[in-house]
Symmetry: C2
Subunit: 259 residues, 2 copies
DNA sequence: ATGGGCGGTTCCGAAAAATGGAACAACGGT
DNA sequence: ACCGTTGTTCCATTTTTCGGAACCGCCCAT
């Protein structure tokens, strides 16, 4: 394994849960000799990938990562339109909404609209979730052929809860339903008490799709409102597909400047 | 130069302006042979640092960077308190405000409160700016001894406008004023039409400070309001210093979860 | 105070990867 | 079809990495 790819592996060890790591932790997570990890982490610190935590042996991602992360835009025209669309639906119902994309077998939140109700679902921006156990993820997986979905899940599924698909057969059945109906829905799957509805929009490349997703506290939403939310999301997605090139008043997390 | 540090250099070539780069561009920016860069960029793509742009030769930062960037927290208790404090001042005056930190001779925005007025300054989150030519930057530089400030600026200053410090002597004079008065102020420096006021708060380590910064359209603010904003920021900073350990209702860009 | 235990670093020869110049291939424009 | 541009591959040389083991230093329990 080359240094660069090992460095990538190291960075993947960090997450919202694991905000800092020590030499030993990394060595165990990656099954590497400590001597290697010791040198590697120092080299990564010197290159700016990591920074040392003051008064501690731990390392955390460096500010370079923070910078790069905040100028990340993927197919920005599509994401911008999706973000605007989700914003309209979010405002209409008062629930949080977001745009996410798929990366392998995971989904990652790209942008977020906070809901206006007191009880609201928080931001998934930058968070990685198994795609199969999320409405957003299934809306995106459904755009792939079954064979590809199988390829992305070599190991048996590890469902985070009883309402998530329990095995590949159930996943494929639910993806088939998504293809038929045009939306995906999840209840109490990856996050307890949270429901979500998602509709995918096609990117310029296959596998480059994005999805509009509405998330809501289950306690606040009945079947009627759910139907209305589904209809609203589907309408927005149809609009995006109908006018693929439509200009959008460049927003979606526009970063301007300050001093 | 080792692969890892070259990779770091490559990533530093990206910015809000330069969202994508090709082999030739990187080779020229870093004065490296194309053969090297070609292999390096591919290796970085395979390791997840970069991704290739569809239908293009260009590369851009990978989604891994996006993820890491969004879980970046530096001395999170301090930043959280600073963010909350800036939020109060921002709401009070209707102008945008943010928290930023110093990295070498630059400042980088960490969190942001959007102003409530129609004309408002946009987010600097993840943006890097020369510290000497920004209120936020000078508020942080002022906490260093002159000698250290000199060391951070080996080359002559490159002032982005006439109101920024034009040379080291002027910079040091203005830093001295910041130390005396407790705040820094900038007018039309790095961003035309924008004024800003900043007050630093001390971190646990020297050089680990953060700053509260209010930014406003110059056309909207007169001397009286400026004084009131300065007073409000100073009061918030005093409060933070007075009770260093005070618990804060963990917010400041808290990321929760969704599906 | 003393001795472990634990986390981290350093050392070393063997093995693998990076380097950079030049030749080569792919592409876009005309 | 041609040219200029851009990116990739090749190769011998130089540099770095690898991983086991020995080593250091800190904290804690006795």
């Amino acid at each position: 394994m080359t240094t660069l790819s090992t460095a990538g592996q190291v960075l993947r060890c960090f997450s919202a849960r694991r905000q800092e790591l020590t030499v030993t932790e990394v060595a165990e997570l990656l099954s590497l000799p400590k001597s290697n990890v010791s040198r590697l982490l120092r080299a990564m610190r010197e290159a700016g990938f990591l920074e040392g935590i003051p008064d501690s042996r731990g390392y955390r991602p460096g500010i370079l990562m923070f910078e790069l992360g905040h100028s990340y835009r993927r197919d920005s025209a599509l994401v911008a339109r999706a973000h605007a669309a989700v914003g309209r639906v979010s405002r209409q119902f008062g629930h949080s909404g977001y745009v996410s994309i798929r990366d392998g077998a995971d989904v990652i939140g790209l942008t977020f609209h906070e809901g206006s109700r007191m009880l609201r679902v928080g931001t998934p921006v930058g968070q990685r979730l198994p795609a199969f156990a999320a409405a957003s993820g299934r809306s995106l997986l459904a755009r792939l052929p079954d064979e590809e979905v199988r390829r992305l899940h070599p190991a048996p599924l590890a469902p985070p809860s009883g309402t998530a698909p329990q095995d590949m057969a159930e996943l494929l059945a639910r993806l088939e339903a998504v293809r038929r109906e045009g939306f995906a829905i999840a209840t109490d799957e990856s996050n307890p008490g949270v429901g979500s509805i998602a509709v995918a929009v096609a990117g310029r490349q296959p596998g480059e799709d994005a999805c509009l997703c509405l998330v809501y506290p289950l306690s606040l939403v009945d079947a009627t409102e759910r139907e209305r939310m589904i209809a609203a999301l589907l309408a927005e997605a149809r609009e995006i597909h109908a006018r693929p090139g439509a200009a959008v008043p460049e927003r979606a997390g526009l970063r301007s400047a300050a001093a």
